[in-house]
Symmetry: C4
């Protein structure tokens, strides 16, 4: 079942490799079929080079395997929390991409410094608080999802489709799994350029007007009709 | 019409990709036929991988489409201001290239620090002032062109064929569209090396004599006759 | 003899090149057959591009050539000290990889800053003390091994499978030669990301709980059964 | 004449491209036949992609073209000064390679920080003083050679086969043109790693004992007999 979604999720996982986002073998993309409430995700511990579309694992929103003989990615519990709480998202990506992970390790959100940022993220890409010992020692991946949701209590995940998990790495999401991959690519580039920008000028910032203008303009003014 | 210029502009847009200057899909090259006053530019929202020479859009200097069924690049208004104000230029390029964009986001001009810089740019590559809320909320791309022209009030665009737009990214130009691409490549390299140079020695600078010598020498002493 | 190990050690040396870890021609991988106590290592001074499995040199643990007409790598004495002292390791790698070598040159250990680090290294990747003039002027490679072992007097080499030799470069090891290569790849990425993380936030650190959790979790919870 | 040397010099110029050292089209390798006192150098202004062995220009040590219809590289006067003053060298390379050029622009020599450095350069890779206005306004390339020679008045060019020309870029040399290319590759890597090392630890340095040990060891202890 969900053969088309499996194909998309498979391709998204391959795209992560092709865009250089898979570091130290870490890189998981998933997608959801909102109608059935079923999630398709990469199997665990199998190198990207060896996966096939039919290896994708089908889960329900509570983590039970509905189809497939392989174990789902160990990151699945985080993805599931996000699908349950962020009602509009259709895909999730997690990597150790080499620039975004540094901001996550530093425990710092990435401030908006230019239109390259605001075409994808409406404001700072936030970083979660550090997790407590209790949270880590129960179900780490599940608690990771919860701490992300907590961080978005006053933020709109549809306008800021990504987060940095403290001392861990980035997650992105989007309308579908391909969009989540595009946001992971954008996050990586934004993370790289913010790093360099703040070295050139530690006081760099952009005004709210440009932030508003550019984010809301993007989907309105560009492209063919 | 302008089939040869369309071919050149097409190739220039592909060259931007081949030189790694297209970041987050942003990268537009255009060229002008000064005799007819017509501008050829990449269509909007179509990935570089899919464009063909015949997709290039022909505009007059006031933005009206003279040929082509596709929308011109959303950046066209900026290009048009530059063509109207900088009378000698034949091509314009805009990207989010990964080093020059950082200087733009930092709001800092790139100082000349060595002969690699002065072979292409006679002095600092300037950064525009931040735009006002009013400028942003009217026609952002048109105002972007105006703020560039304002910044060059006392500078010679033929000697400094590039600029950084504050919180946005770089524009370069040249005698023709290929020359504008070459200047975009040079700007990127100069931006990278200035970043590193000023980390090694924050007080680095070059004397006016070497700046003069090398810039004016370039087109005189080198190459085959 | 040891044809299978020669093939593995050969492949590991090629893998170092393919992963970009061979800088300035430096890059040596070796493996040990614990039953016979024989070590297989790359020959000295022959470019990686030209070696074949049959060129691998077989040594005993005291450095005598047991098979092969070529000289063993000049780094062999260091490898042999590690095999003699770290009883569980099956492979060793030494490179001048471009990020880890910088930490070695800086004389600084790499602190654990995120789960990317702790999936491979349980705590700081230590740096040795500087060697004395006497140590350098006797047998440099042998003394290099001894100073590594000294540094691990209160550390567990099975939990921290790598080290930075002061003013020199990194060594990694593992259960077999392929595992040593994987740890060299991980060390390089960790070194790169720690460099950037501490620029973003000089006070970055991770708590002991996350360190424990993630290191011990890795081999338990992930992968297919 | 000198067909074999032309072939070597041609190949060396191509190697500069293949190793990523040609930045902004700048990259010239030359070689000398000490018996005849003739120098073979890349022609000027022709892209590396288009040169052929037969295009190499033959000059005498005073700059007169002995063979070839093309103009010699504009950098030839610098090469000739080095060949006249550094009696043992057989090849010279000049580039704008992206790390060494930053140290040159910063006006800073590259200190020895590890064995990767001292395997190629016995001590700091020096930077020349800034040139005077007079020097620049007479024959820039010739004066560039003279300022390099001045910098080596108390240094041994056979032990330190490279230099940074202030506000300009690196030159390297060697026993032959291929060796000069190898030293250009090494200089680039050393420049990159010193940059990063001094960010990690601004007080990094290496002792004289290790410097001596490693430099003089290199050609004695390694390789096959």
């Amino acid at each position: 079942m969900l053969e088309q979604l499996k194909e998309q999720v498979f391709q998204a996982n391959i795209d992560l490799v092709n865009h250089g986002l898979v570091v130290l073998t870490r890189g998981t993309a998933s997608g959801i079929d909102r109608e059935s409430g079923l999630v398709v995700i990469k199997p665990d511990g199998i190198p990207h080079q060896k996966i096939k579309p039919k290896d994708m694992v089908v889960l329900n929103l509570y983590g039970q395997v509905e189809e497939g003989n392989l174990q789902p990615s160990g990151d699945a519990p985080t993805h599931l929390v996000l699908y349950r709480q962020f009602k509009n998202i259709g895909g999730v990506v997690h990597t150790y991409s080499e620039w975004a992970t540094c901001w996550a390790q530093a425990g710092r959100g990435i401030p908006p410094l230019g239109t390259a940022h605001t075409e994808y993220f409406y404001g700072e890409i936030p970083c979660t608080r550090k997790m407590t010992r209790n949270e880590m020692e129960s179900n780490f991946e599940h608690e990771t999802g919860k701490v992300i949701v907590e961080r978005f209590r006053e933020l709109n995940p549809d306008q800021i489709p990504g987060v940095l998990v403290n001392n861990h790495g980035p997650f992105t999401w989007g309308a579908d799994v391909n969009n989540a991959v595009q946001n992971a690519i954008a996050l990586e580039k934004v993370a790289q350029m913010a790093f360099r920008t703040l070295i050139i000028n530690p006081d760099a910032e952009m005004g709210a007007a440009l932030l508003n203008k550019h984010f809301f303009k993007k989907n309105k003014n560009y492209g063919q009709k």
